[in-house]
């Protein structure tokens, strides 16, 4: 591991000022991605600013939303009673991610900023990785593709965004609150991530030194039901091959409101706007669910190693829609 200085942040403004002023300084929170990638030689900051003692934890509730401090751990959020009651698919996604030990360390802010699990990105002995070394090529496109994306890919990068909880949060139009050197701003999660395009090393709209301070999650309306389904190679403690986060509200069998997002298939947490358009106003049932799934995977660009994911993702979404519809009836 490259040597680095360690310092504790005394307040958020000071931390943001210090990191903003130096491209070789990074924030350190739960550390589960950061330290892992530093050990692997992928990240080599010269200074880490430990923000874990800043007052950025805690969950507060209003009638229509919950506000989650960025340092809230995945376990803390998963065991919050309001999340369990009003946002069950958020809770499910959290508990289906990582292990209890990692969830006790990993923060929600860090989860959203987790780096790609691409084995070529994570191995500095692989020369070609546009994410790690812009312009060097992409070893994954001609490599082992199973754990890679089929939506939002480019000729320069097919790395997956592996977060589970970001899937329901994207479906819910969660808002990311950010503090920067020039003040604070709020970014809808649906506009937070950037598909790789020809700049795979730029993964989101944050400027260096901007700090996530909180996530605001709108609650589902009364009567809505939700579910998160994760399909993977092992039954536990594994990343998704395909996943779906769905929330529906119906009246007399007609879908009034639909929120659909996919994981395990996108370079970013994938909001399936087309599927929502199909579902809204339609009768809940096999026909509309399959049509929605076809719409959700429009534009998929599978490679030989990911061809199976197109149908897998469709069936994952149909199954999830059936589960939610079953809970509504």
């Amino acid at each position: 591991m490259h040597p680095f200085e360690y310092a504790r942040a005394t307040d958020a403004d000071q931390a943001v000022a210090v990191v903003s002023a130096d491209p070789h300084t990074s924030f350190l929170a739960g550390g589960t991605t950061q330290l892992d990638l530093m050990k692997d030689g992928v990240l080599h900051p010269e200074r880490l600013i430990d923000i874990t003692r800043l007052p950025l934890g805690g969950i507060t509730h209003t009638a229509s939303a919950i506000r989650v401090g960025a340092l809230t751990t995945m376990e803390e959020l998963a065991t919050d009673p309001v999340v369990g009651e009003r946002l069950p698919f958020v809770r499910q996604a959290l508990l289906l991610g990582a292990s209890t030990q990692l969830r006790n360390m990993a923060t929600i802010g860090g989860n959203l900023l987790q780096r790609a699990r691409c084995r070529y990105f994570r191995d500095p002995t692989v020369a070609s990785c546009n994410k790690r070394n812009p312009g060097s090529g992409c070893a994954a496109i001609t490599g082992i593709q199973r754990m890679h994306a089929i939506l939002g890919t480019s000729d320069h990068c097919i790395a997956l965004h592996a977060s589970d909880v970001a899937v329901p949060l994207t479906a819910l139009d969660a808002i990311v609150h950010v503090l920067g050197a020039e003040g604070s701003r709020s970014i809808p999660l649906t506009q937070f991530y950037l598909p790789p395009g020809d700049t795979p090393h730029i993964e989101n709209v944050l400027r260096h030194g901007e700090l996530i301070t909180a996530i605001e999650i709108p609650l589902l309306p009364d009567g809505a039901r939700s579910h998160y389904l994760k399909v993977r190679d092992r039954v536990s403690y594994e990343f998704a091959l395909a996943s779906a986060g769905v929330a529906l509200a119906t009246e007399d069998g007609l879908i009034q409101e639909a929120r659909v997002a996919l994981g395990g298939v996108g370079t970013i947490p994938w909001r399936a706007w087309n599927a929502e358009d199909v579902l809204r106003g339609a009768r809940a049932g096999a026909d509309s669910f399959r049509t929605a799934a076809e719409a959700a995977l429009e534009g998929a660009r599978p490679l030989p190693g990911t061809a199976f994911k197109v149908e897998l993702a469709k069936r994952t979404l149909v199954r999830t829609l059936e589960t939610v519809a079953g809970a509504l009836s």
């Binding site: 490259h2 040597p3 200085e5 892992d36 880490l48 030990q101 536990s236």
Partner: protein, 172 residues
């Protein structure tokens, strides 16, 4: 410090001295003042600097759970924790479970159920199992499977591990 500088460096330039930090760790109720290379993980601090070798280094990347310890009563993987971050936190290792030579009930159950083969993952399994019960998640075979999945046993002693946990919860 066993880490070595491996980054390419311009010829003739001396290696930078690795920055150090002063840290006081509260481990099993005892305070330890340490001066550590900032890169030292909690796991390496416990094993190499405090001689507490119960927590094991398996994968060293947070995947296997062999290094599981408790921080403020919650289980974490100490290999992905920088020691400097854990000043002032209450760190509990497997060494503290047995009191006055009496095995902790979970340790005794592991022994009775032969819940190991090589034993390398065992301290992590036991720490995780103790936390599992405290979390209220040892209520069914299915929950034990799910919430112990962060602890890998390559000898495959899983049925015996689950039996030991079930016994401690009074259902074995």
């Amino acid at each position: 410090m066993k880490h070595v500088e491996t980054e390419a460096r311009p010829a003739g330039q001396a290696p930078p001295e690795a920055p150090h930090v002063d840290v006081t760790l509260n481990v099993n109720g005892t305070l330890h003042r340490l001066r550590l290379d900032a890169r030292v993980t909690l796991l390496d601090a416990l094993r190499d600097h405090l001689g507490l070798t119960g927590a094991k280094k398996g994968c060293d990347q947070g995947a296997c759970g062999a290094c599981t310890v408790m921080v403020d009563g919650r289980r974490v993987v100490s290999c992905l924790a920088l020691a400097a971050q854990y000043e002032g936190r209450e760190i509990t290792t497997v060494e503290s479970l047995s009191v006055d030579g009496e095995l902790h009930p979970m340790q005794a159950a592991f022994a009775r159920h032969d819940a190991f083969q090589c034993g390398y993952c065992t301290p992590g399994q036991i720490m995780s199992a103790v936390c599992l019960i405290a979390e209220g998640r040892a209520n069914s075979e299915e929950d034990i499977r799910e919430f112990m999945s962060g602890n890998i046993c390559r000898c495959g002693a899983y049925p015996n591990i689950r039996a030991a946990i079930r016994e401690v919860t009074g259902e074995g």
